[in-house]
Every structure is written in C-alpha cells, then in structure tokens.
C-alpha cells in the first residue's frame, strides 16, 4: 500500500523530461497495483521478476503470470507502460510462479482485505482429497472452515465458508 512512489509518478517525471535511475524505475514498477487484487502490488505478489537497463538507456520490466491463462496480463503490461512510459515489458514463464513468492507484507494486506493468504507449498502435486491445512477465516480468525469450491472468482483462489461467523471468503491456493 505504500510504494516508494505512486504508479503515475513515472509518467509525471517523464513529462518533466527527468530521467529516472534504475532504482527509481524499480520502485515505480514494484508499486503498480495488481488489476484484480488492487490491495497488493506486483512486487507483493511476486509477479515482478526484474527491472533491467536497456542498451538505449530505457528499462525492461520482466513479469511472470500467476497462472498460464491469467487474463490480467494485458492489463498489467498496460499499467506498467503507463507508470513507466517507454519501458518494454517482457513476460517469462520460467521459473514458474509460486505462491511462495508472495511477500509477508502482501500476505498481511490480503488478510486485511478479507482474502485468506496461501499456506506453505508442501509438494508439487497435492494428493487428491488433501484439504489444505491451516486455512483460517480472514474475518474472525476461526479455523472451522469448509472448502466450497477449489476454484473461486479467479483461478488462483478457492472459495471457503467459515463455520464460525458464516461468512464466505476467498483463499489464495498454494501452487
């Protein structure tokens, strides 16, 4: 929630003709909010992989999708180019994104906004019928929760209901 600079700072500075340092460009890219989960940034989610200098003095921003079919990738590319005019955006698939890359700060922000953050990834392929352990209701903190569907409002989330406060909530799936 507190990027070093707001996402539109790059544009403002570009209009002023000021050339940003690589560190400044990194901070701007890191602070771009995720279009589907705007409470967290690209850096919080681990989607931002790198910000590199180009030979011509510009920057290259490297991102990776959470899931292969993530429909937010086009919006993320546009948002980065808006925040950093002239930047090239490269998408890589390898190494594959994992919820382990979601930062502690990102996990706290998700919880604050009613989304249960992922637990630790224990194996590549969870055995069938294994209920993820340790899922707690992000509203009341109860561990008495029930999995409603393995697929929630986006591919990266599952839908749960809390048996204590009866509220439904999203849980970011371990992957």
């Amino acid at each position: 929630m507190t990027p070093a600079e707001p996402p539109d700072a790059g544009q403002a500075r570009a209009e002023e003709g000021v050339r940003m340092t690589l560190d400044e460009a990194r901070a701007v890219a890191a602070g771009v909010p995720d279009p589907e989960l705007p409470v967290v940034t690209l850096a919080d989610l681990g989607i931002l992989r790198d910000v590199l200098p180009r030979d011509d003095g510009g920057v290259e921003v490297v991102i990776t999708p959470t899931y292969s079919g993530c429909p937010a990738m086009d919006a993320i590319r546009d948002d980065i180019r808006r925040a950093l005019p002239g930047a090239t955006v490269t998408t890589v698939l390898s190494p594959p994104w994992t919820t382990e890359w979601i930062t502690e700060e990102g996990r706290a922000k998700l919880r604050e906004h009613g989304i249960s953050p992922p637990g630790r990834v224990v194996s590549l392929a969870p055995p069938t019928r294994a209920e993820p352990a340790g899922v707690c209701c992000p509203r009341c903190g109860s561990g008495r929760v029930r999995l409603v569907s393995r697929y929630g409002s986006t591919a990266c989330k599952a839908l749960y209901t809390c048996a204590a406060c009866l509220e439904p909530f999203d849980h970011v799936k371990e992957i």
Partner: protein, 216 residues
C-alpha cells in the same frame, strides 16, 4: 519433447469445450470452476501454439483435418458427467506428460495447474459415482462413451500409460465405476476427426470468418 501442435491443439479444443458451459453449468460454483479450467488450458494452448507457428492463424485458419488434437477432447459435453469423466481421463494424461517434462517451461508451469484439474475431476467423479442412482447411471454412460478414446492418448507416450492407468483405476474404483470393455478408436493425431470437431470449429472460428482481421 512435447509436440507443440498436438498438445497445443488438445488444450485449445478442450478449453473451447469447457467454455461452452459458461453461464449454463449446474451451479454457480461449477460454472466458475469450469471457466477457470478452460482459462488454464487456453493459456497453455497459446504458449504451445506460438511455438508451432502463429497462434491466431493456427486457431482460426485451419479446417478440422489440419488439427492434431486427440479425439477425446473434441467429444461433446453432453452432460456434467461426460464433462467430468472426459476431464478425469485427459487431465490425468496431461498431468503425467507435463510431469515427465520439467525442462519444458509450459509443462513446468502447467503441471501445477493440472494437479488441481486432476483433483477437481477426481472429486467429482467420486461424487457422481457414489451419489444417486441417476448420477451413477450418467457417470457410467459417460465412461462407456469416452473410454474408447483413451488408447490414442498414449500414441508416442507409452511410458505414461502405467502411471495414468494406476491413478485412473484408483479413482474409478473409489467411485464404484468399473472400466468398460469397449473397442478403441484413434485418428485425431493424423487429422481424422469425429464430426464433433467440425461443429466446435464453426463456433470457434465463426467471428474470424465473418470479420477477418477484426480486433477488440
């Protein structure tokens, strides 16, 4: 090595089939789940078909005989049981294929997604098989209709049959669904498809045929 055209076509065609459920699945949760399965496969299809050539040309400009997908994925949705059983059989295969190719970046990413697909299909197969008399009857019919297309999955992938068989058998036994003794059909990998692919492509390619080069 993963054949980008064969597996890319499998993913594209199955993605389209699953998307046909959107707004008409039995419950809202399953509507969302099937759409998410479709989306994962579409992402994998795009990455694989881009490796084989131009993804748009490959998706929109080929006739049925140009497609190299297996016959299983083009089979119609029919009902929820058919959709689940088809996904059980195919996701079980694709999971093994991806797991066997960790050096391939599409597979290394896709295997984690397919682990969830496999799990989803297994849980529903168990519910349908052990649910009501009607759900058991429909699951049995689906298995009888779709089992004939399973041999083809292993053309060129014989090493994957044993792990697939062991997983599928365990799920089916747990669901009280016996494996049917039915004759096998192949041909998709050689471009010899069932008529179902033609009608699927009519819908998939319709917009491009009517408005070539249209952009969003």
């Amino acid at each position: 090595m993963i054949d980008a055209l064969e597996i890319g076509d499998d993913c594209l065609v199955l993605s389209q089939r699953l998307a046909e459920w959107v707004t008409r699945a039995p419950t809202l949760e399953e509507d969302v789940a099937l759409a998410n399965l479709s989306l994962d496969l579409l992402g994998q299809a795009r990455a694989l078909l881009s490796r084989a050539g131009d993804e748009d040309d490959l998706a929109y400009l080929r006739g049925a005989s140009g497609f190299r997908n297996c016959l299983l994925v083009e089979q119609p949705n029919t009902d929820f049981a058919h959709t689940i059983v088809r996904h059980l059989l195919y996701a079980g295969f694709l999971f093994e294929l991806y797991a066997a190719h960790p050096e391939d970046e599409v597979a290394a990413k896709g295997v984690k997604e397919l682990a969830y697909h496999r799990d989803y299909a297994a849980l529903w197969t168990s519910r349908l098989g052990r649910g009501t008399e009607e759900s058991h009857r429909r699951a049995t019919e689906a298995l009888t209709a779709l089992w004939p297309f399973t041999d083809e999955l292993f053309e060129g992938h014989q090493d994957l049959r044993a792990p697939w068989q062991s997983w599928v058998t365990e799920v089916l036994e747990g669901a009280a669904l016996p494996v049917p003794a039915v004759a096998q059909r192949t041909g998709g990998r050689r471009g010899q498809h069932t008529a179902h692919l033609t009608s699927l492509l009519t819908e998939l390619q319709g917009l491009h045929r009517d408005h070539a080069g249209a952009t969003w």
